[in-house]
Structures are given as C-alpha cells and as structure tokens.
C-alpha cells in the first residue's frame, strides 16, 4: 500500500488509464492513417493493396477536387467565423445592458446551438425550398423574387454559411457576454474621470481586455467550423456540382463512397496537419495561454 501512498507516483497512477485510452484514440489512428496513406488501397480489394510511397500525396496535390474542397472549406470557415464574431459581439453588447427579462433573453438565444445539428439542416432545407419555403415567401414581401438557395451552385455556399451563422453566433455571443461581465471596473471608472467617451473606452479598454476571450472563441469556432459535417450533409450533400463540398465532406466521400482508403488516409493526414498548424499559429500569434 505504500506504493499507493507515494505522492510522486500517485499522479501517474491517476493518469495511466487516460494515457492508455489516449494512445488508442490518437496514436493508433495517426499511425494507421500514415501507413494506409502510403498504399494504394481500394476497400473492396484489400488483397491488391500495394505500397506506393508518397504517390497518394502527389496525386492529391494534382487533384483539382482537392484544391476546390480546400478553397471551399477556407471560404466557409472564414466567412462563418467572421460573421459569427461580429454579430456575436454585437449581440453580447446588447445583452450586457440592463433591462427587464435579461435572463429569459439569454436562455432563448441558446436554442440554435442545442437543436440536434441534423435537424437544423433539414429544418433549413425545408425553409429554403424554392417553391414552398417560407424564406422566399417572406422575401416576396420586400420585392425580392424567389431564389433557388441550396439548389443554385452560386448561392449554395452562402445558404449553408447562413445556417452555420444561425447555429453558432449565440455561442460566440454568450462567450463574449461571460467575458464582458467579468471585466474589472477600475479601468472604466478611471477612463470616465479622464474624460474619455464610451467609444474610446470600448476601443482602448474593452477590446484589449477581451483578447483572451476572443482567442478562445475563435479557436473553438475555427476547429468546429472547419470540420462542419452535419448541416452540409443534410442540406446539400456537398453539391450542387461540388459548390459546398468542403474538405471534410470531400474526405468523407473519398473514404466511404468511393472507398479509396489509401488516398483518403493521405487526405486525413493533410487535414490533421492543417488543423494543428492553424491552432498552433492562433495560440502563438495571440500569446494567449490556454494551458496554464
């Protein structure tokens, strides 16, 4: 029993089960992906699996669909996270004021992010319906003729961006609100004494103090927006003509529709690499510590 009581060994004892599970869910997939990405592997003919070195990586670099999906992903991620940031900040500032029913308002804004994502996708698909949808019906009141929305290659990406913004802006807003409410009072009192305007104190005090909160929100939204699956799958399935085929959807189809496992393994490694690099850059560049 003295082994269990040893204070130096104790933390490792607590960690061992987690480390084993971590190895199973990180090291195993990572190494397996790398191994499989070095092979030509069509799922239905596992016996024909052949080692081809880095050929999968070379062929993805030459594949237009790969570049298209990457471009779509970045367009999707930058526009969703950008819009969510701006509208979320606005919403947080509005919610941070004193008025009656403040808590009720805050609760109601939770709805978009807790509705099951697959249901979100279908619900919007129904509302986007060109002939029977409620959105075109509302637009007709302000003289805008019906759009095809998700069926139009030019509008499809915008349509799914709107849904993601709908779903996740409240998340940004509530994070920002939590940040705003925990700001210290002293700097603002001092700035009033110094005669600065509200706009000035927002720009010079609120924004800099909120930086860690902004970074956390951006980081999590980036991670999730970049891997968005459910709403795109249910609304457009990546179409029409690949207009909404993000990188994640692209890999999904390569792996589980076309069964090109070797090639998909290479794509997955590229995906992992991109996410880790971008997250690291966000954290380095902002100098915000999330591991203390």
């Amino acid at each position: 029993m003295s082994f269990l009581q040893n204070k130096r060994i104790f933390p490792y004892l607590l960690l061992i089960p987690s480390l084993l599970i971590l190895a199973l869910i990180t090291l195993f997939p990572f190494l397996y992906n790398i191994w499989v990405s070095l092979h030509d592997y069509y799922l239905l003919y596992p016996k024909d699996m052949t080692f081809i070195g880095f050929m999968n990586y070379l062929s993805l670099l030459r594949n237009g669909d790969f570049w298209n999906s990457l471009k779509t992903s970045f367009l999707f991620t930058i526009s969703t996270v950008g819009l969510e940031f701006i509208i979320g900040l606005l919403l947080a500032l509005l919610l941070n004021r004193d008025f009656k029913g403040k808590n009720l308002f805050r609760t109601l804004f939770l709805f978009p992010m807790i509705v099951t994502p697959i249901a979100v996708g279908y619900m919007w698909r129904i509302m986007y319906s060109p002939s029977l949808g409620v959105i075109n019906y509302f637009l007709s009141f302000i003289g805008i003729t019906g759009k095809e929305w998700v069926a139009d290659p030019k509008m499809a990406l915008l349509s799914v961006v709107i849904v993601d913004v709908w779903q996740w802006t409240p998340f940004m807003a509530l994070i920002f609100l939590a940040g705003l409410m925990s700001l210290p009072r002293e700097p603002f009192e001092a700035s009033i004494v110094d005669g600065s305007t509200q706009v000035q104190s927002f720009y010079y005090i609120t924004l800099p103090l909120m930086k860690p909160v902004f970074i956390v929100a951006l980081l999590f939204r980036f991670i999730d927006s970049f891997r968005t699956f459910d709403i795109i799958y249910s609304m457009t399935g990546g179409g029409p003509i690949r207009a909404t085929e993000t990188f994640n959807i692209h890999i999904y189809y390569n792996a589980f529709r076309d069964l090109q496992i070797g090639y998909s393994g290479a794509l997955a490694i590229v995906f992992l690499f991109l996410v880790i690099v971008i997250c690291t850059l966000i954290l380095r560049w902002s100098k915000v510590e999330i591991i203390d």
């Binding site: 104790f10 089960p17 869910i25 109601l108 129904i126 019906y137 939590a178 929100a217 991670i223 997955a268």
Partner: protein
Amino acid sequence: MIQKKLRQIINISCITGLIILLLFFLFPVIWMFFMSIKTRADALAMPPKFIFQPTLANYASVLTNQNFIHGFYNSLIVGIFSLIIVLFVGVPASYAIARYTFKHKRDIAFWILSTRMAPPIAVLIPFYLLFRTLGLTDTRFSLIITHITINLALVIWMMRSFLQDVPRDLEEAALIDGCTPMQSFIKIILPLCANGIIATAILGFVFSWNDLLFGLVLSGANAKTAPVFVANYISYQEIMWGQLCASGIIVTIPVIIFVGFVQRYLIRGLTLGAIKG
C-alpha cells in the same frame, strides 16, 4: 434634456435590435415545431399557413416507427456507456492535472487537448477499418469506443476547471488526518464536485447524442443511432416534411431537457473550462 432624449433613443434601438436578432434565431425552431404539427396538406400549402388545425399524427407515426425507437435506444446506450468509460478514466486524470506537478504535465495536457482539435474523420477511417477487420461494424460497441474521442477532452478539461475551484486545504487536512491521497480524492474531493461531474456528464451525453458522422459510417440497421435515422428519413420519403420535423423535434427534446439542467455550465463545457461563464 438632449442627453436624456439621446439615451432614450439608444435604449429603444438596442431593444429593437435585440428583438430582431431574437426573431432571427428563434423563428426556425418555431417554424419547425409548426411544421411538425401540421397535416401534410397544410405543411405544403403556399402561402404558408400560420393558423391551422394542429395534429399529432406526425408524432404518432414517428413514435410508432420501430426503427426510430430502436435508434433512440441505441443513442441512449451508446451515450451512457461511452460516458461511463470517459468519466472513469478522465476524472482521475483531470484531478492529477489540476492538483499535482509532474514531468511532462504540459505535454500531456496538450495531448489531451489535441483530441478536441483532431478532425473526427481522421479518427474514423482507421477505426472503421479496424472494426471491419474484427467484424464489429454495426455494433453499439464500435460506437461506444469511437464516442470516447468525442468526450475525453471535454471531461478532462472541464472537470479540471471544477476541481481547481475546490480549496486545497481540505485535502491537506485529510492527509494530516491520515487519509491516503487516493482516499482523500475519492472521499473528499469527488463528493464536493458532484455538481461539476453531473454537468460534465450531461454535456458529454449531449455531444454524443448529437453525433452524426460516426453513426453514419459505423452503424447499419442494427446499431443505427437516432440522428442517423433522421438523416435517412428524407432519402426515401422526400416530402414528408411533417414527419421529418417531428422526428427532429423528438431527437432534440432530450437535449433541451438536459441542457435546461446545466444551462449555466454550457459555455464552460463548450470551451472546455477556458471560459467559466
């Protein structure tokens, strides 16, 4: 006088802005509910009907669908069991990270966090091949194992933020009284953060419940989860909007109930404890 007028104008425009935003964020949910209680004819009416005779027929047909009930049950089992595993291994790890200093602590903490960053599809391909080789596709077991990846980082990081809130003196007193570190962890610390554990468990369950991708790939007729059932609805019944919406609402109801309990911890959970909310 002008100051007062100006303030009033600002107040009114703020409230107006808030109400417009609220309408935008709530309307789709309300509309979905309306659709779910409309007859087929009313759901497809143009212009859309805002006043109609409600019906529960859509709910009845979803709830009497054996496949749906089965999917609901599968989701429940997968969520509960994967969460039990994650809590069992995650909470002790989280305690070690919150309280002790040891070699490579930062690396291990980052390693755990990286499971939240890693794209699920990169985890899914190898596990799909593994389960295929082992003949375990379309089992709840395969889903339980993969759902661990959804929640491990959540549990460890969120629990860490709760454990940090527990004053250190309590453990020190317990150690002086002759408790082993393990006893003080189990008998003193765990009961003190029971609320945190429940909140973490509920959020983890919600994330597991909402998952579509793992279910879509790993499950067939046997282990199909509720979201997968909803996803397949449209392919063979293209225009059954009422039933589709009803199934969406039914899948969402457990989430709404659960989140209702842990509302104040929602932001803490979604940011893995980084923002306390």
